[in-house]
C-alpha cells in the first residue's frame, strides 16, 4: 500500500484508469503518510474526511467513464487559496479562524477536474518570506538534511514551503502554491522538486488571499515536469472575476513535452554570474548549459543590465501593494478582533496583535513609500525601474527563446542560521524576482546535489504566455539530469 505514494502523478493517473488501485486506496495511502510525517509541519489543516469523500466520488466517475483530468489524484492546497467551508488562514493569527464561504477560482477548477484535497499547506505569513518560518503555526521542516550535519533541521524555503515539502516528502502527488517574488520556485529548488510560476494573468487570482496584486500568481509544484504540466492544465484560464486574468487561448501543456529543442536559443544572462556565486552553483549552471548544447540547443550570452535593481524595486512595489491589500484586516468583517475603546484603537490593537513581525515591517515600509511627499521618490521610481527590467527581458527575447539561470544563490539553510537582517533573507530571491517583476513564466527544476548533499535548482524563464517552451526545455533537461536522489528522510 505504501508503495502507492512512490508513484508520480502521471503514473497514478494511469493506475487509476487501469484500475490497479482505487482513488480511495490512493488517498488512504497519502493520509497514512501525512500522519506519519506530521513532524515536518507541512499541513496547517488536514482534510481527511473531505479527501475520502471526494475520492469515493472519483471512483464512481472513473468507473462510469466521465472522469476529469485530475480525477482521484490527491493534492495539497496552499493555505492562501480560499476553500469553501475549510479554514483558510494565510498562516496569520489575524485569519486563524477564517472559514471562507466561497471557493477560489483555481482550487475550484482543480476540484471540478476531480482532484482530491488532502489539506491546506503551510506558508510564510501572508506569503511574505523565503524560509517558511514566519507562519503562526510554526516552521516547516525540509525533509533533506546535510551530510555533514544530519541532526540540524533545514528550512524548506518559502513562501510555499508547505507545498514543496508535501511533494518532496511524498505527502501529496502535487501541491499548488503562489509566487510573488519566487515563492514557488525557491522552495521547489530547496526541496528537490519541480515548480512553475506561470505568466502573470494565466491563472485567476480570485479567491487567493492577496499579497501584492500586480505580482501574485498561482502555480503547481510536483515531482517532475510532466506532473506540473498536468496540474497546470487544470488551473489556468480566463476568469471574469479577475480583471487581470488573460483572455487568451489555453494550450494543453502536457502536449508541449515534445522532447525536441534542436535549434532553440538559450539565453545566459551575464549579470546573474555574481561575484559571490558559489563554485558549485556556477558549475551546476555550466553543466545545464552543456546539456542543452548536447540536446541541440544554442547557448547565447545575453545582458539584462537592470538586474541588480530588481530586488530594491520589488521591495518597494510589493510592500506598497501589501500595505494597501492588508488594510482590509480591520477586526470588523472577518478575522481577529482585539477590543478597544474607540474604533481606531480597536483597529490598531487588532492589527498589532494579528500580524507578525515581517508582515508589520512590510506594511510600515509600504505605508511610508505611498505616503505624501515620498510617493514619487519611492513608489513611482520603483514602477519606472520595473519597466526597465521588463524591457531588458523584452529585448533579450528578440534573440533567444528561453533563459537559463540558477534558481537561488544557495541551497537550503538551517532553521537556526536565519539572519536577523531582513535584506539577507531577501537575497534568496535575487534570481527569481526579476522574472516576477516582468510577469514572465518561470520554472525551477532539481539539477543536482550540493557537496553537502542538498538539492540545487536551475531556473528556466520564457516569453509571456510561452509556458510551453519552458516546459519543453525543462522536460529535456530533466531527462539529461536524471535526478534520482530522494530526501534524507525518505531513505530506508
Amino acid at each position: 500500500m505504501s508503495n502507492l505514494t512512490k508513484l508520480t502523478l502521471s503514473a497514478a493517473r494511469d493506475g487509476l484508469k487501469t484500475k490497479d488501485f482505487s482513488a480511495v486506496e490512493l488517498t488512504k495511502a497519502y493520509l497514512d503518510v501525512m500522519e506519519q510525517r506530521r513532524v515536518l509541519n507541512a499541513f496547517v489543516t488536514e482534510t481527511s474526511d473531505i479527501a475520502l469523500k471526494q475520492a469515493s466520488l472519483s471512483d464512481i466517475k472513473l468507473t462510469k467513464g466521465n472522469a476529469g483530468a485530475m480525477e482521484g489524484l490527491p493534492i495539497g492546497i496552499k493555505d492562501l487559496f480560499c476553500t469553501e467551508g475549510v479554514r483558510t488562514t494565510a498562516c496569520s493569527r489575524i485569519l486563524e479562524t477564517f472559514i471562507p464561504p466561497y471557493e477560489s477560482t483555481v482550487s475550484g477548477k482543480l476540484k471540478r477536474a476531480g482532484a482530491v484535497m488532502l489539506g491546506k499547506t503551510s506558508l510564510d505569513e501572508f506569503a511574505m518570506g523565503s524560509s517558511n518560518t514566519t507562519s503562526t503555526f510554526g516552521p516547516v521542516i525540509n525533509p533533506w538534511r546535510r551530510k555533514s550535519n544530519f541532526a540540524s533541521p533545514l528550512v524548506p524555503g518559502g513562501s510555499s514551503g508547505g507545498s514543496a515539502v508535501a511533494v518532496a516528502a511524498h505527502l501529496a502527488l502535487a501541491a499548488i502554491g503562489t509566487d510573488t517574488g519566487g515563492s514557488i520556485r525557491q522552495p521547489a529548488a530547496f526541496c528537490g522538486v519541480v515548480g512553475i510560476k506561470p505568466t502573470y494573468g494565466r491563472c485567476s487570482r480570485w479567491g487567493i488571499v492577496a499579497f501584492a496584486s500586480s505580482l501574485d500568481q498561482a502555480g503547481p509544484i510536483a515531482r517532475n515536469v510532466r506532473d506540473v504540466a498536468i496540474v497546470l492544465n487544470s488551473m489556468v484560464g480566463y476568469d471574469p472575476k479577475d480583471s487581470t486574468s488573460a483572455k487568451i487561448s489555453v494550450p494543453d501543456f502536457e502536449m508541449a513535452l515534445t522532447r525536441d529543442i534542436k535549434g532553440l536559443k538559450i539565453g545566459i544572462p551575464q549579470e546573474y554570474r555574481l561575484d559571490y556565486l558559489s563554485n558549485e552553483i556556477s558549475k551546476l549552471w555550466d553543466d545545464g548549459i552543456a546539456m542543452m548544447k548536447d540536446a541541440g540547443a544554442i547557448p547565447v550570452q545575453i545582458s539584462l543590465p537592470y538586474t541588480k535593481y530588481a530586488l530594491p524595486a520589488y521591495y518597494i512595489v510589493a510592500s506598497a501593494e501589501c500595505s494597501s491589500n492588508l488594510l482590509r484586516y480591520d477586526g470588523v468583517r472577518y478575522g481577529l478582533r482585539i477590543d478597544g475603546k474607540t474604533l481606531d484603537e480597536m483597529y490598531k490593537k487588532t492589527r498589532a496583535n494579528g500580524f507578525g513581525k515581517e508582515v508589520r515591517r512590510r506594511i510600515l515600509i509600504g505605508t511610508y513609500v505611498l505616503s505624501a511627499g515620498y510617493y514619487d521618490a519611492y513608489y513611482v521610481k520603483a514602477q519606472k525601474v520595473r519597466r526597465l527590467i521588463y524591457d531588458d527581458f523584452n529585448k533579450a527575447f528578440q534573440n533567444v527563446d528561453v533563459i537559463l539561470t540558477p534558481t537561488a544563490p544557495s541551497s537550503a539553510f538551517g532553521l537556526n542560521e536565519i539572519d536577523d537582517n531582513p535584506i539577507a533573507m531577501w537575497m534568496n530571491d535575487i534570481f527569481t524576482i526579476p522574472t516576477s517583476m516582468a510577469g514572465l513564466p518561470s520554472l525551477s527544476l532539481p539539477a543536482g546535489l550540493s557537496v553537502d548533499g542538498l538539492p540545487l535548482g536551475l531556473q528556466l524563464i520564457g516569453r509571456p504566455f510561452d509556458e510551453e517552451t519552458v516546459l519543453k526545455v525543462a522536460d529535456v533537461m530533466e531527462r539529461s539530469i536524471d535526478f534520482k536522489e530522494i530526501p534524507s528522510l525518505l531513505r530506508d
Binding site: S243, Y309, I316, R333, L343, R361, Y368
Partner: protein, 101 residues
C-alpha cells in the same frame, strides 16, 4: 531626482506611519523599528542611480486594457454569508465600537 528626500527616518515619522497603517506600536519598540526601516530604505536608495527620465511607470505587466463588463447585478443576496465570519454582528449588521458621540 531630489536626493535630499532619502533622509533617514526618525521616531516621529515612524509614529506617523504606524498611525496611518493603523498598527499600534509601543514606545519601547520604536527605536528598533526606526533602525530596521532605515536599513531597508538605505538598501532601496540604490534606485536613485538609475536614470528614469521619460520612463512611463509600469502599473501592470499584463499587456491588456482594463476590461469592461455589462452593468448588471451578478452577485448579492447573501447577507448571512457576508456576516458569517464577523467577530461581532447583530441583527444583520457588523458591530463596531461607538464612532459618533
Amino acid at each position: 531626482m531630489d536626493e535630499s528626500i532619502f533622509m533617514s527616518l526618525d521616531k516621529d515619522i515612524v509614529r506617523n506611519i504606524a498611525n496611518l497603517a493603523r498598527i499600534e506600536v509601543l514606545e519601547d519598540e520604536i527605536d528598533s523599528i526606526v533602525k530596521e526601516l532605515s536599513n531597508i530604505l538605505q538598501f532601496v536608495e540604490q534606485l536613485s542611480e538609475v536614470n528614469t527620465d521619460d520612463i512611463i511607470p509600469m502599473t501592470v505587466v499584463a499587456d491588456m486594457k482594463l476590461p469592461l463588463r455589462a452593468d448588471v447585478v451578478t452577485d448579492g443576496n447573501c447577507r448571512d454569508k457576508v456576516l458569517i465570519n464577523a467577530p461581532e454582528s447583530f441583527d444583520g449588521f457588523f458591530l463596531v465600537p461607538k464612532v459618533v458621540e
